[in-house]
Subunit: 344 residues, 2 copies
DNA sequence: AAATTTTACGCAAACGGTTGCGTAAAATGG
DNA sequence: CCATTTTACGCAACCGTTTGCGTAAAATTT
C-alpha cells in the first residue's frame, strides 16, 4: 500500500517553517526569494520527491490541456488514421486527446459533446455522423469557450472552422486518366441518396465528364445502399447493359471489393474487360491481385492534423488577453488519385 | 464573443443573499435546507443556466474520471478494436479515455506514462511495446495510486494485473483441423527471434504437433523478419523443399498476404496445393478470394474491455475507505481458430 | 544616526464546489 | 412560561497552487 499522501507545497513549507507562497516562488526560482531559502526548498522538494500537482494548476488556469476528438468509427482505417494525425499534432503541443466514437449515431454524438463539455476540454475536433444535420449541440460549446473545428465530414454552413477535402481534383485526375487510356464510357456506382457524399460525387462526376467532353448517360449511373447484395446488384446491372461501361467510378473501396468479386463471378477480368477507380478508405490494394486503376485519396491524417493545428491556434488565441478576434479558419485539401495501374 | 463568465454557486448565492454552502446543499436537495430556499435556488440556477463545474469537483475528489490507454499503433486493426473495447467499457462507467500511441518505441512509452501521470488519470491500460523489457515506469505509477492493467502484450512478471490471450487453444484447433483433413506435414513460418511472440508460437507449435503425434521436422520451420521480401523468401524456401509441407502455420496475416502472392506466382493454388492458417490481425479475408483455412483469433476487443473492467474494479476499490486489498486480477482468454474453409 | 531603499518573506484571496460543525430562531414538550 | 429539540442556515476549512500586496528587518544612503 503506497503512502497515499503525495508531497505538497504545504508539506515542504511546514518542514522548513516558511509559507506556502515562499515555497511556490522558490520552486520557480523567483528573484524575491533569498538564495539560501530557495536552495533549502529545492533540497527538501527533491528529498520528498515533490512534483507539482498539475491538476491543481490546470484548475486554477481553467484549462485541461486536453482536446476531444469525435469520430464516427475507429474501425475505419480512415478515422484511425485521422486520430493518429490528431494525436501527433496534440503531442507536439503538449496536449492530451480524449476520444469519442459516435458510431454514426446522432444521439451518441450529442452525448459525447455533452461529456466533453463536462470534462472542460480545451477544444473539440469533429467528423460528423452521417445522421447529423443540426448543430446546436456544437453551438452550445461556445458558451463554455470551447472552440470546435470540423474535418472531413463537415456541417453545411459557412460560419464554422473546418478542414475538408475537395473531391473534384481527384475525380478529374481519374476521369482524365481514363479518357487518356481510351475510355469514353465511364459509369458511376454511387451511394444511397440520403448521404451528402452521394450527391457530391454525382455532381463532381457530371462536371468532370463535361470537362472531358463526354456525354452523360443516365443508364450507367446506378446506386447502392452499400449492403453487399446491393453492391453486387449494382455492378451486375451495369454489366448486363447492351453497351456496358468500360470503366466505373465506385463510391468507395468497400463497394468496390464486392464489385470485383462480382466481375470475376461473371467471368470477366478486372482491368481488361472493365476498369475501376474508387474512393479510398482501405489500405489493402497492395495486397490484392485485382485492384482499381487508382484510388482517390482524401488524406485523413493530413486533414485531421491540420484541423488540430487550427484548434490550437484558436485555443492559444483565446488565452491571450488582447485577442484580436481570429478569423474563421477554413481549409480545403485537394484529393489526389493514387495511381495503381503501373503497379501491376 | 461569449460572456466568458459561467455562472457559479457564488453567483447564485449573491443573488439570493444566502451562502454558497446553502446553494450547494439546495442544489442537491439536502434536507437541512428549507423548501422555499431550495426552490428559489433551483429557480435562479435554471435562469442562469447554472451547471456545476465538474473539474472543480473532480479536483476536490482527487479524481479525473479519465483513464489512459497506451497501445503501440492505432493503424493496426487489432489495436483500434482494442481501443473500441476500452471506450465501450469506459462509457458504461462514465469514464473518459485518453490515448497514447507508443509506436513500439520504449522511450515514447515512458513519455506517455509520464504524461498520463501528470494528468492524474485514474488508471492506465497498457499493451506493451515490442521493445519493453523493464517496467519501472509503470511501477512508479503506484506512488500516485494509479492502477495499471496490461492486456495482450503483457510483462513477463507475476505481480501484475493483466488480461492476455492463450494461443494454445487456437493453435491446437488449427493443427487438429489440418490433421483431420489429412495433413501430416505442417510447416511454420515464424517471426523474428527477438520477439517474444516468436518463441511462444514455436513452443506451442511443437506442443500441438506432439499432441497430434506428428513428428517435428526442422526443415519446415522457417522464419522471417516480417519484411515483405523476407516473407516471400520464407515461403519460397518451403516450397522449394523436396518434400514441401502441405499446410503452413503463418506468423500473422501480413506475412500470409505475401505468402499467398508468392504461392500464386509459383503457379500453385491456395487451399489445393497448399493450405494456410495464420494468426489474425486483419479483418480482410471475407473480401479475398484466396484465404487461409482459418485464422487464430485473439479477441482484441474482449481482452481490452475485460482489462478495462479490471481497472474499474481497482479504481472503485481504492475509493472505498476500508478496502480489503484486492487480489491480483488476472485472466487469460482462449484464442479460437475461426474457420474459413466452409466459406469458400 | 536618521531617513530611505532594498531584501525576503507572509497573508490572504482566488479557482469552484463540498462538508463538518456551530448557532440563532422557531417549534415542540412539559 | 421555561427547557429542549428541531429547523435552517452560515462559517470556515479543504483540495494544491499561484500571485498581488503588505511589511518587518536589513542594507544603503546622506
Amino acid at each position: 500500500m503506497s503512502n497515499n499522501k503525495l508531497p505538497t507545497i504545504k508539506e515542504i513549507a511546514k518542514r522548513l517553517n516558511v509559507s506556502a507562497s515562499t515555497v511556490s516562488r522558490a520552486l520557480h526560482d523567483h528573484p524575491s526569494i533569498g538564495l539560501v531559502t530557495t536552495m533549502r526548498v529545492h533540497k527538501v522538494a527533491k528529498e520528498l520527491g515533490y512534483e507539482a500537482n498539475k491538476m491543481a494548476i490546470y484548475f486554477k488556469e481553467r484549462k485541461t490541456y486536453t482536446i476531444g476528438v469525435i469520430i464516427p468509427d475507429l474501425s475505419e482505417p480512415f478515422f484511425s488514421a485521422a486520430l493518429t494525425g490528431v494525436e501527433d499534432a496534440a503531442e507536439a503541443s503538449n496536449y492530451n486527446v480524449i476520444i469519442g466514437q459516435s458510431l454514426d449515431n446522432f444521439e451518441r454524438e450529442k452525448k459525447i459533446v455533452e461529456n466533453m463539455k463536462d470534462h472542460r476540454v480545451d477544444g473539440v475536433l469533429v467528423s460528423l455522423t452521417k445522421e447529423t444535420s443540426t448543430y446546436e449541440h456544437f453551438d452550445s460549446l461556445k458558451k463554455y469557450n470551447i472552440p470546435v473545428v470540423f474535418f472531413d465530414r463537415v456541417p453545411n454552413r459557412k460560419d464554422i472552422n473546418y478542414v475538408a477535402c475537395n473531391l473534384v481534383s481527384g475525380m478529374l485526375q481519374a476521369i482524365t486518366k481514363l479518357v487518356g487510356i481510351g475510355h469514353s464510357r465511364i459509369g458511376l456506382i454511387n451511394g444511397p441518396a440520403k448521404l451528402a457524399a452521394t450527391l457530391q460525387r454525382l455532381e463532381i462526376y457530371c462536371r468532370c465528364l463535361k470537362e472531358n467532353n463526354l456525354p452523360m448517360d443516365q443508364d450507367i449511373i446506378v446506386s447502392t445502399t452499400l449492403a453487399k447484395a446491393d453492391n453486387v446488384k449494382a455492378i451486375d446491372k451495369l454489366l448486363a447493359l447492351e453497351e456496358p461501361p468500360t470503366a466505373i467510378i465506385v463510391f468507395n473501396d468497400y463497394v468496390l471489393l464486392d464489385c470485383i468479386a462480382a466481375v470475376k463471378a461473371a467471368g470477366l477480368v478486372v482491368n481488361k474487360d472493365i476498369s475501376f477507380i474508387s474512393f479510398a478508405n482501405l489500405p489493402i490494394w497492395e495486397y490484392m491481385e485485382s485492384v482499381p486503376l487508382g484510388s482517390i485519396e482524401q488524406f485523413a491524417n493530413k486533414q485531421s492534423s491540420m484541423a488540430a493545428e487550427f484548434l490550437f491556434q484558436m485555443i492559444n488565441n483565446a488565452n491571450k488577453p488582447n485577442s484580436p478576434e481570429l478569423p474563421l479558419l477554413q481549409h480545403i485539401i485537394d484529393s489526389e488519385m493514387i495511381d495503381y495501374s503501373s503497379a501491376k
